[in-house]
């Protein structure tokens, strides 16, 4: 039995966890759900010893562990974690990666022993997996890598495993393999091993969990037997973020501004005659499950594919990233320079950039989009995540680009910010800008004039007007699931 009490974690100015209490019983599968940024991954890192809690205590099998609880300790106590981003070394083989988590696999014949160990486990969890012990991880497909990592977490050498944490384990597995995993989870919990399962697929959670804990804003807001939940009550517990009805209805009031066609693109491999079109003044949504080719489609438009001459004027397309740190923020710069980077040409007189003009632009957008900062010369990293995201919006909307590409930009952004930004998107569209908006949040599709649902890199359904409903989008998201698997 494992128990956490009063766990807090602070990153700089951000309180990621604010007092989490949680018990995990032996031999149970605990489902853990919550929105992005609710603190699930942080909590699991603390449990696995890869992050240290700022406050609070942790008890594993009667061992009280406070500060200084580290990975080695976790390993000794039989806690294993499959992290969201893979923890395999791509340059090593399957057997060699197994050796990394097992210090006892050494000496003469370790390769054979490691190979046998991992292959036995793979056979048990994923029968028919098609992986061999001497395969180099980098050469394997992403789903096979994930299978190896999961199987590795269940391998046993000198210490028994007590708890395995699976953080979004099925994100890159197809449904058949995912079922194999869920079946295996049932089997090991029967043998007394505890499993924590984190997943965005509520069906999975409801199917295998004994109990379900719901996290929101850095704390556990509900924790009950799985039987007491259904899909609807789970979503309610997670806290639906945007109040429906706040969205301006598309159609009637906005169609007056829709003008020339700017984008006409067919995803490569599209089997039917559906294609992505967007006109001036339109907000076009990309929907579907995460990672079905929406971002790739946006990037290919960014590179100019499918952009008609009418859309290629001025500075062409601008891009608003969802993954701020990787795709958006220029970390050493002030807010002003971060906003100005996409509009540099317009701010020149002669050869030189006029910082007054840049300042003007930044000040204007700080005001308009409500960036909460003392002034625009403050470093961008001093802002909270939501405000950094607003800076990226200001950068894109402040540029002269006619086409705005949005790659799920509201990830981990608070409700207030979202509503402010939605209003501005509508305003900008009515002034003739074209928006392509990939979103994973159903409510945001209410702002779209037309929605393309993606599945396996192609458009599986085009929805317009009143056809844009949660049921239709979900239906289309899983359209070819039986055929693909």
């Amino acid at each position: 039995m494992i128990s956490l009490s009063g766990i807090q974690k602070v990153f700089g100015a951000v309180q990621a966890l604010s007092g989490v209490d949680l018990q995990i019983h032996a031999g149970e599968c605990l489902g853990l759900v919550g929105h992005n940024g609710a603190g699930k991954s942080t909590l699991m890192n603390i449990l696995a010893g890869t992050l240290e809690a700022s406050e609070g205590s942790l008890t594993i099998a009667g061992n009280g562990l406070g500060k200084g609880y580290l990975v080695q300790e976790a390993g000794r106590l039989g806690v294993r974690c499959v992290f969201q981003e893979l923890s395999l070394c791509p340059n090593l083989t399957v057997a060699e990666n197994t050796r990394i988590i097992h210090p006892v696999l050494k000496g003469f014949g370790w390769r054979t022993r490691a190979g046998l160990l991992i292959m036995k486990q793979l056979d048990q969890v994923f029968p028919g997996h098609g992986v061999s012990a001497s395969d180099v991880i980098g050469d394997l497909s992403i789903s096979k890598r994930q299978m190896v990592e999961i199987a590795r977490a269940f391998t046993v050498t000198d210490t028994d495993i007590r708890l395995v944490i699976l953080d979004e384990p099925t994100s890159s597995l197809d449904s058949r393999v995912a079922d194999q995993l869920l079946k295996y989870v049932n089997q090991v919990t029967g043998q007394g091993v505890s499993v924590i399962l984190i997943s965005h697929l509520l069906g999975e959670i409801l199917q295998v969990s004994d109990r379900i804990a719901v996290m929101k804003d850095g704390r556990v807001v509900a924790c009950r037997n799985a039987a007491d939940f259904d899909r609807i009550s789970l979503v309610e517990a997670m806290g639906s973020t945007v109040v429906a009805g706040a969205a301006p209805r598309r159609g009637e009031e906005t169609n007056a501004t829709i003008g020339e066609e700017r984008i006409h693109m067919r995803p490569s491999g599209q089997p039917d005659d559906q294609s992505i079109r967007a006109q001036a003044g339109e907000v076009v949504g990309f929907a579907g499950l995460a990672g079905q080719g929406q971002t790739e489609a946006l990037l290919s438009v960014f590179d100019g594919h499918g952009v008609l001459p009418s859309g290629a004027r001025d500075e062409g397309c601008c891009f608003i990233a969802g993954d701020r740190q990787v795709d958006g923020v220029l970390p050493l710069w002030s807010i002003r320079k971060n906003i100005g980077i996409s509009s540099l040409r317009r701010m020149r007189s002669g050869m030189l950039i006029q910082s007054e003009r840049e300042l003007e632009l930044a000040e204007a957008w700080k005001e308009r989009i409500g960036i909460r900062a003392p002034d625009v010369e403050a470093p961008i990293l001093s802002l909270s995540g939501g405000n950094q995201q607003k800076v990226l919006f200001a950068r894109a909307l402040g540029s002269a680009a006619d086409i705005v590409l949005m790659d799920d930009p509201m990830r981990g952004v608070d409700v207030g910010t979202k509503n402010e930004v939605y209003t501005i998107i509508r305003q900008e569209a009515s002034q003739g800008r074209t928006f392509l908006w990939y979103t994973t949040e159903m409510e945001e599709l209410d702002y779209c004039d037309r929605v393309y649902v993606f599945r396996d890199g192609i458009v599986s359904e085009t929805l317009t007007g009143s056809d844009i409903t949660e049921e239709n989008v979900l239906q289309a998201s899983f359209k070819q699931v039986s055929g693909a698997a």
Binding site: A321, L330, L332, W333, L344, I353, S399
Partner: protein, 316 residues
């Protein structure tokens, strides 16, 4: 006092000037009399060459981790050899010689960039491979021929106006232009954005490939120009004249307070650290330290500076 402190913290390049001044003061006090002024003048002369290549290297380093131009020394040598051959000691041929040297720079830059782009290899490997070829060309062209530079070029490279080297005035002007280029132009901003987060810069509309190409060309062209003046300064080209500039060009950038992780650079620091490096050697010479000791101190200073300046900023 407080305001000086904050100034220095916000302008990391100021350290290099303080260090340069202190070493100069120590040496000048030791030799006493007017020797100090002469020393300052010599330091200005010698540091000009470091500054020229340092600026090019600085733009390259600003592009971020893995971006270093290792072909600078060989470019210096090749351009010196080529320009001396074209000029052939005649004042009238100075301009064509210069153009030939710049052409060498442009070609080397283009070659470096093509290797990076076409073979998709890290810039450091690309510039290293091309430096092998460039160095070889210089050796093959320049072996056995020792051509004196034209008198006018020699004058420009060595003359002093009331103790101030003419060439150093030119280099100060160059540095001012380059500082403006870095801070006030679209190109400079783009380079700085590139080095902070290449992917984000690309998605914000920075033309990544064009910036990379321009930067490697700029570095090569500056090295080529340096080669011409160096040949003028030292009475002709020699086959190992570029050698010391490989490490020195990187050293002046780092000591000057530019971030080796990219995205945060400055021009004045290059000037300060070039002066400092020369004066340090001069000081140790005056104090009678052995050559080895000078090298060791230089090395320790580089390691010390980068240790205290810290490495990659931790992005959360």
């Amino acid at each position: 006092m407080r305001s000086i402190e904050t100034f220095m913290r916000h302008h990391p390049w100021s350290w290099s000037f303080v260090a340069a001044f202190l070493t100069w003061a120590a040496t000048a006090a030791y030799i006493s009399g007017t020797g100090g002024l002469a020393l300052a003048s010599t330091a200005l002369s010698f540091s000009t060459f470091f500054v020229m290549v340092g600026i090019g290297q600085m733009f390259v380093i600003t592009l971020g981790p893995g971006n270093v131009d290792l072909s600078i020394p060989s470019t210096i040598t090749l351009s010196a050899v080529v320009s001396m051959m074209v000029m052939d000691g005649s004042n009238a041929m100075i301009l064509p010689g210069f153009l030939a040297a710049i052409l060498v720079g442009i070609l080397v830059g283009l070659f470096n960039y093509s290797l990076i782009r076409v073979l998709s290899i890290p810039p450091i490997i690309a510039t290293m491979s091309s430096s092998f070829l460039v160095q070889s060309s210089a050796i093959a062209l320049g072996r056995g021929v020792k051509i004196k530079p034209p008198a006018a070029l020699e004058w420009v490279a060595t003359a002093k106006l009331t103790g101030v080297p003419v060439l150093s005035l030119g280099v100060i002007a160059l540095a001012v232009c380059m500082a403006i280029l870095l801070n006030r132009t679209v190109y400079g901003r783009s380079v700085t954005a590139f080095g902070q987060n290449t992917r984000a810069a690309g998605l914000a509309g920075v033309p990544i490939e064009r910036i990379r190409y321009l930067t490697y060309s700029l570095s090569a062209v500056l090295a080529a120009i340096c080669g011409v003046f160096l040949a003028g300064f030292s009475g002709g080209s020699s086959l190992n004249m570029g050698e010391e500039y490989l490490l020195a060009s990187i050293a002046v950038v780092v000591i000057g307070g530019s971030s080796i992780a990219g995205g945060n650079s400055n021009v004045p620091g290059i000037f300060g650290s070039a002066l400092f490096l020369f004066l340090l050697v001069a000081m140790l010479n005056t104090f009678g330290a052995a050559a080895g000791l000078r090298l060791i101190l230089t090395g320790l200073i580089i390691v010390g500076v980068v240790t205290f300046a810290g490495g990659r900023t931790e992005n959360r």
